[in-house]
């Protein structure tokens, strides 16, 4: 019992002395509120001093005490900012165990004490947070990959921040009212319909082309492979004008189609689909060509040797093997087709797709009116794109199972 009491007294003595100092000594300088805050900060420092004393070397412990004294000194030099200083002191005492965190804290305090601007104050915090995230997420790391990650994060930020900004720029009510507009619904239906049609047409014509290019070797193969990428290379406005000069109402092809079929291509769903096919086909072609040429040739040879015809081999062996790649390409094609605006504007002004509607609203009323439709588009497309990508994983897992 007596031993227990002795322990308690030994524990409480420094605290009582500290309280006494605060009650008698400092109360003339600071008000009662500041005094309480300072008392808690000093208690924290004292508590950690008691803990650090046995485990630290004498040098390190002296360093800790010097830091404490320095903090107290600055508090007395700047009595106006005593409460904030007390907070610094408490954090200092707790962080002294882990030098890395203490360095972070020091940098951060310097940045907010030295610079008045909000952004210069806030970026060290952001950097520290990102670093913490990085250290906790990526366990196997070296210097080079860390630097590469740093550079990559900047790009990700550049991509992500505008998209997130537009995604969250309008309220759910605005989104709901926008959703109920018949113009928007029609535009969305047009977009989905034309993009899906464009993807299907690209699939019908693209897979044979990709297979043919991948499986045969001929002079000029490289040229065709380069030409496939041409729509990616050409600016959207140029592509739009080029298509207009082919399918426009006063050109040969456009006139003939109008004369024989009674179809006016410009300002119709056909025009939108044509524009989307033009810009989005390369994605499917590239993916399909790559998967067809990378897939295992021996299986096809075996199938041929066992008596299957060329077409049987294609349907039973080559196509199923290349299906995950083609699927990925098709998803990309679909996404590109949905997002196309520039070419469509030149070719078809009238049935709005959602992308041209955004452009139209922006031209007419400014960003306020265009933003809700844009965020609606992003939400819907992200949703569909995620589901389609999940389908890719499903295909891949099926593929590995069947093997």
């Amino acid at each position: 019992m007596l031993n227990w009491l002795k322990k308690l007294i030994r524990l409480l003595t420094p605290l009582i002395i500290l309280g006494f100092i605060h009650l008698i000594g400092i109360s003339s300088i600071f008000g009662p509120g500041e005094n309480i805050v300072l008392f808690f900060a000093n208690t924290a420092c004292l508590f950690f001093a008691i803990i650090y004393k046995p485990i630290f070397s004498r040098y390190r412990f002296t360093l800790y005490c010097l830091g404490w004294a320095f903090g107290l000194g600055t508090i007395f030099l700047r009595p106006d900012s005593a409460p904030v200083m007390a907070l610094y002191l408490a954090m200092y005492s707790a962080l002294f165990r882990t030098p890395r965190l203490l360095c972070h804290f020091g940098t951060f305090v310097m940045s907010i004490e030295m610079t008045p601007q909000y952004f210069t104050q806030i970026w060290p915090l952001a950097v520290i947070l990102i670093e913490t995230l990085y250290y906790s997420l990526i366990k196997e790391r070296d210097k080079l990959s860390s630097i590469f990650f740093l550079l990559g994060f900047m790009l990700i930020g550049m991509i992500l921040i505008p998209v997130l900004g537009i995604l969250f720029s309008s309220s759910p009510q605005t989104l709901a009212t926008t959703w109920q507009e018949s113009v928007v619904q029609n535009a969305l239906a047009t977009s989905l319909l034309t993009a899906t049609t464009a993807t299907i047409i690209t699939l019908i014509f693209g897979i044979p082309l990709a297979y043919a290019i991948a499986k045969t070797k001929f002079y000029g193969r490289e040229i065709i492979l380069t030409l496939i990428d041409l729509p990616i290379l050409v600016p959207q406005s140029v592509a739009g004008i080029a298509l207009l000069m082919v399918f426009g109402p006063k050109t040969t092809i456009g006139l003939n189609i109008y004369n024989y079929f009674g179809l006016e291509i410009v300002n119709s769903l056909f025009a939108i689909t044509i524009a989307q096919i033009f810009v989005s086909a390369p994605f499917l072609l590239r993916a399909a060509t790559a998967t067809f040429s990378e897939s295992d040739h021996r299986l096809e040879k075996v199938s041929r040797a066992l008596g299957a015809t060329h077409s049987q081999t294609f349907w039973r062996i080559s196509l199923p093997m290349a299906l995950p790649g083609i699927y990925g390409g098709a998803v990309l094609t679909w996404a590109r087709a949905i997002s196309e605006a520039g070419t469509i504007i030149l070719l078809a002004n009238e049935p709005f797709t959602i992308s041209t509607l955004v452009n139209f609203r922006f031209q007419q009323f400014g960003t306020e009116e265009a933003a809700p439709i844009a965020s609606l588009l992003i939400i819907i497309c992200l949703f569909i794109f995620t589901i389609l990508n999940c389908g890719k994983f499903y295909l891949a897992s099926n593929d590995s199972k069947s093997r």
């Binding site: 008000g31 500041e34 309480i36 409460p83 907070l87 408490a90 954090m91 806030i122 309220s171 759910p172």
Partner: protein
């Protein structure tokens, strides 16, 4: 819009202990520190932790809900304190002090705040105390069905309420709390179907913290369910997401703490570096009775191995097992 007048439940509507020349209340801070000291002492010295924990939780619930002038509301504006440093240090202190003290507490005792002091956690504890009693009498199939239904229902209810009550102008600034809560809740039905995903959803806490930080850096106020729920003027977003917290507490014990809470993520970062921690006497455990894991409210235990980023220091495992609170200090 955005705020709803609530019945006045606060005992004190003026600051109790003032900083000189400012209307800043030091009472929440002092309460926090005293409760923290009490809980650490109870963890370290008490023979049976449970009664002490219940006492301190009741005290903190009473203090923060009925007595404290400002509740967790102080937390949401902490980042704006940095702007005031050097310009007006009193305001800076007012905005910063609770956050700094929470981080300090995390460095000393890990997530003691979550298990012993946080009012949201206490309310979830109370709910799960009753639901566990009811669940014991039901068959597993009934529980499963009810849980899946409730988890989907909670998402629907949150979306519906937010559509009704949301103010029209600022989507992001007013809805952060609901957005993150709904996003977290959306994962819970999947957990019910495939328990393997549980570990993955826990990662959502960090996304919640990181997302909020980005939003803060853009310069927008953020809210969370604990925010102004207990205030005289109720923030609609915080209250609606708090309803979500209550509904999920029925499904999974402390679901909000496990999957969504951004402060939990901060504690998760800092708790492995904390001064005090709960440690098993013998690792690996040779008995493997699983008693501790069944008692853990946040599922941080796996065969006597404690995941410190998840642990809320409630001490249930210590009461029921040979685990002891061991002070461990890094050199």
């Amino acid at each position: 819009m955005g705020t709803i007048d609530a019945p006045r439940i606060k005992l004190f509507e003026l600051p109790l202990i003032k900083l000189s020349g400012a209307a800043i209340d030091l009472a929440p801070m002092i309460m926090l520190i005293l409760l923290f000291i009490a809980s650490i002492l109870a963890m370290y010295y008490a023979r049976k932790i449970k009664p002490w924990r219940i006492l301190i939780q009741t005290l903190s619930l009473g203090m923060f809900v009925f007595a404290a002038h400002q509740t967790m509301c102080v937390l949401r504006t902490w980042i704006f304190g940095f702007q005031a440093v050097g310009i007006n240090d009193t305001i800076a202190f007012a905005l910063l002090h609770i956050a700094v003290i929470l981080i300090f507490m995390a460095l000393v005792g890990g997530a003691v705040f979550c298990g012993w002091i946080c009012p949201v956690g206490t309310i979830q504890d109370i709910i799960s105390f009753f639901t566990l009693k009811i669940k014991k009498q039901l068959s597993t199939k009934v529980i499963m069905g009810a849980d899946v239904t409730l988890s989907i229902l909670s998402i629907v209810v949150l979306c519906w309420l937010s559509l009704i009550y949301a103010p029209a102008d600022f989507f992001f600034s007013e809805n952060v709390s609901i957005l993150f809560t709904v996003a977290g809740l959306a994962g819970i039905p999947f957990i019910m179907i495939a328990p393997v995903l549980e570990k993955k959803l826990r990662f959502f806490r960090y996304i919640s913290l990181f997302g909020r930080t980005i939003i803060i850096l853009i310069g927008i106020h953020v809210t969370n369910p604990g925010c102004t729920v207990f205030e005289t003027e109720i923030d609609y977003s915080a209250s609606i997401s708090f309803l979500g917290v209550l509904m999920t507490a029925v499904i999974i014990n402390r679901a909000y703490c496990r999957y969504i809470c951004p402060f939990g993520a901060v504690f998760g970062f800092l708790a492995p570096k904390a001064l005090f921690r709960i440690q098993s006497d013998s690792l690996p455990c040779r008995i493997n009775c699983g008693k501790c894991a069944s008692k853990c409210p946040v599922g941080a235990l796996d065969k006597a191995h404690i995941e410190y980023s998840q642990c809320v220091f409630c001490g249930r495992c210590v009461d029921d097992c040979t685990h002891k609170v061991v002070m461990s200090v890094e050199k």
